[in-house]
């Protein structure tokens, strides 16, 4: 296999997100949000890898598992999913059907696009609401093996859905600016 093919293999797993069309003043903030998100995701991902594998090691060496490892890893996983979902949104990774989009002429296609965005935002707002109310209820609850408040994990939902709403706004704004500049050129 020549080196070119190896390059192609790596291309498939690039972690760069597609560029967005935002006002110039907004871009540094957006890049900051993405960089911070990636950093948090990396810390969480490495943390649960170390935790789970160290559990295996400790079981071999001391013959028993560490009581808080399982619970902590599960909490980290929730954060990992909820934060990672916004990166997936920016990547266009959330699987969707794309039947109508391709068949329709431009104008109905635009209408369908915005309808889908409205439905997405409606969902995200509902879940933000649900997340906030679940968080409120979780403060007095403690997780058994960890002895910490459930709020530590339940806060992942309002934060995650809040982030998703932010990124959804970015994507819609970017698409709208693209449409407007295309219309302007005509």
């Amino acid at each position: 296999m020549d080196s070119h093919e190896t390059d192609a293999a790596i291309e498939g797993t690039e972690t760069e997100l597609p560029p967005v069309d935002l006002p110039a003043v907004w871009l540094p903030f957006d890049n900051g949000v993405l960089a911070a998100t990636k950093a948090v995701v990396i810390v969480i991902g490495l943390a649960f890898t170390v935790l789970v594998s160290s559990e295996v090691v400790s079981r071999f060496l001391i013959g028993q598992s560490i009581s808080w490892v399982n619970g902590t890893a599960r909490f980290l996983l929730v954060w990992f999913f909820m934060i990672g979902a916004s990166l997936a949104l920016r990547q266009g990774g959330h699987v969707a059907l794309d039947i109508l989009g391709k068949m329709l002429p431009p104008l109905p296609q635009t209408i369908v696009y915005y309808l889908a965005q409205i439905l997405t935002v409606t969902f995200l707002l509902e879940l933000l609401w649900s997340g906030v109310s679940a968080l409120e209820g979780s403060f007095p609850q403690t997780e058994g093996s960890l002895g910490i408040s459930m709020a530590w994990v339940m806060s992942a939902f309002p934060v995650g859905f809040g982030l998703l709403i932010y990124h959804q706004i970015v994507l819609v704004l970017s698409a709208t600016r693209q449409l407007a500049s295309k219309a302007g050129r005509k």
Partner: protein
């Protein structure tokens, strides 16, 4: 009120809202607005599944896939396969199949499998002079087998979504059907190569060169041994095996081959977050919908209806398989598993179908749908990578679709194909 959930879901789906969001929108709207239940229920349902230990295996397996690619383990394997099989007529076709059997099924969804591995395979086959439609069709059909050979993310998702199905048992159950399908694809490639006169790609290297390359591949070959062996031997759980796998690849990449950079590790985590959070969101939204389904006894109503149609378990499984293949032509397999496993698995139990056998039939049917014309999504992807009109791929894929359907039929008729291995290992 249940039709309302369905209508919201379908409308959202058709206009192109991501599947997870469409499910979540339908479920949460129903809970919050139609039933007036405390809104926190939605997120608490999501937490129940998203914070489950077995699900942790998915981001870890995704990390293994990327790390193995970055540190050169996978390219080394491809090189060895080329040396061993390249001088056969149609060698690249065999390599494509062997490759998918060994390293597929790790990334979470068949779509991302094709996007990463499939793209390379198509390029390699085209460069070796194979017709592009054949390259596209073969690559799409190998995506059907890789998710049933362990380690399989599809089976983890199924085991969790169905509730209480042994994931280790499913892993083992996939081995025999996976090998049958792989051999079947090889035989088909052999016939095709004879007829079309596909060439060889390399001269036979000296045995010493092959041996040296085989030695380089040893660390990679140990990876499935550690993962599968560890699970079968009861040394660790599926999730733990995945974490140990990540650490193993990192150690090999840093100490043994010295091909891994710190940036590769960071990239693997970020990429894994992107891939696996899609699955996480689907699982979360699926948990909300399945809560509604349970609460309204939809499963029981459906079961009653099905029993009126047939009381024969074989016919029931055939109906389920055909329905899934049909739905799979328009929907991602992961989403399909998450949506329908909680609904159908309890019914399968009522029919007395062994749940591991049912699991393999279920997952394979979802995968076949994704390569079935005229809408199978994997075909569109591979056609785009191969730069050929989709119609040509439709023609080239048909023998593979038929072969895969025959295999599903065999799995339905002969439970031994799926149940023997897990039973022998005490995982049934």
């Amino acid at each position: 009120m249940i039709p309302v959930v369905g209508i919201i879901f379908l409308v959202a789906l058709v206009v192109g809202t991501p599947i997870a969001f469409a499910m979540g929108l339908a479920g949460s709207s129903w809970i919050i607005f139609f039933e007036g239940i405390d809104p926190s229920v939605v997120v608490r349902r999501m937490f129940g599944i998203m914070g489950s230990f077995p699900l942790l295996a998915i981001p870890l397996f995704s990390m293994i896939g990327i790390l193995a690619e970055r540190c050169g383990m996978l390219p080394d394997l491809v090189k060895l396969l080329q040396m061993l099989l390249g001088r056969l007529k149609g060698g690249m076709a065999y390599i494509n199949v062997a490759n998918s059997m060994m390293m597929g099924g790790v990334s979470g969804t068949a779509v991302s499998d094709v996007a990463s591995l499939g793209r390379v395979e198509i390029q390699m086959m085209k460069r070796a002079g194979y017709p592009a439609p054949y390259a596209a069709a073969l690559t799409a059909s190998t995506a059907v087998i890789s998710p049933i050979i362990p380690p399989s993310v599809a089976f983890i998702i199924y085991g969790l979504a169905a509730g209480g199905v042994s994931i280790g048992g499913l892993f083992m159950a996939g081995i025999v059907p996976g090998i049958i399908m792989g051999l079947g694809l090889w035989v088909m490639a052999w016939f095709k190569s004879r007829k079309a006169g596909f060439g060889t790609i390399v001269d036979r290297p000296r045995p010493a060169v092959i041996f040296a390359q085989a030695l380089r591949v040893v660390p990679f070959m140990l990876l499935p041994v550690i993962i599968v062996g560890g699970i079968v031997g009861g040394v660790f759980t599926v999730t733990e095996s995945a974490a140990v796998g990540v650490v193993y690849v990192i150690v090999v990449g840093f100490v043994l081959t010295r091909t891994l950079k710190v940036k590769d590790i960071f990239d693997s985590v970020v990429y894994s977050a992107i891939i696996s959070s899609v699955v996480g969101m689907l699982m979360g939204a699926g948990a909300v919908v399945s809560w509604i389904i349970t609460r309204n006894q939809v499963t029981q109503q459906l079961a009653d209806m099905l029993v009126m149609i047939t009381s024969d378990p074989t016919l029931f499984m055939t109906l389920v398989a055909l329905t899934l293949i049909l739905l799979g032509t328009v929907m991602d397999a992961t989403a399909l598993i998450i949506m329908f496993a909680p609904l159908v698995v309890p019914i399968a139990r009522q029919y007395g179908v062994p749940e591991i056998q049912f699991g393999v039939v279920f997952v394979m049917s979802c995968m076949i749908g994704m390569v079935t014309p005229p809408t199978g999504i994997l075909l569109f992807m591979t056609a785009a990578f191969a730069k050929v009109p989709i119609e040509q791929v439709f023609k080239a894929i048909m023998p593979f679709v038929v072969a895969a359907m025959v295999l599903v039929g065999l799995l339905i008729l002969f439970p031994a194909l799926t149940l023997t291995v897990p039973a022998a290992l005490g995982l049934g």
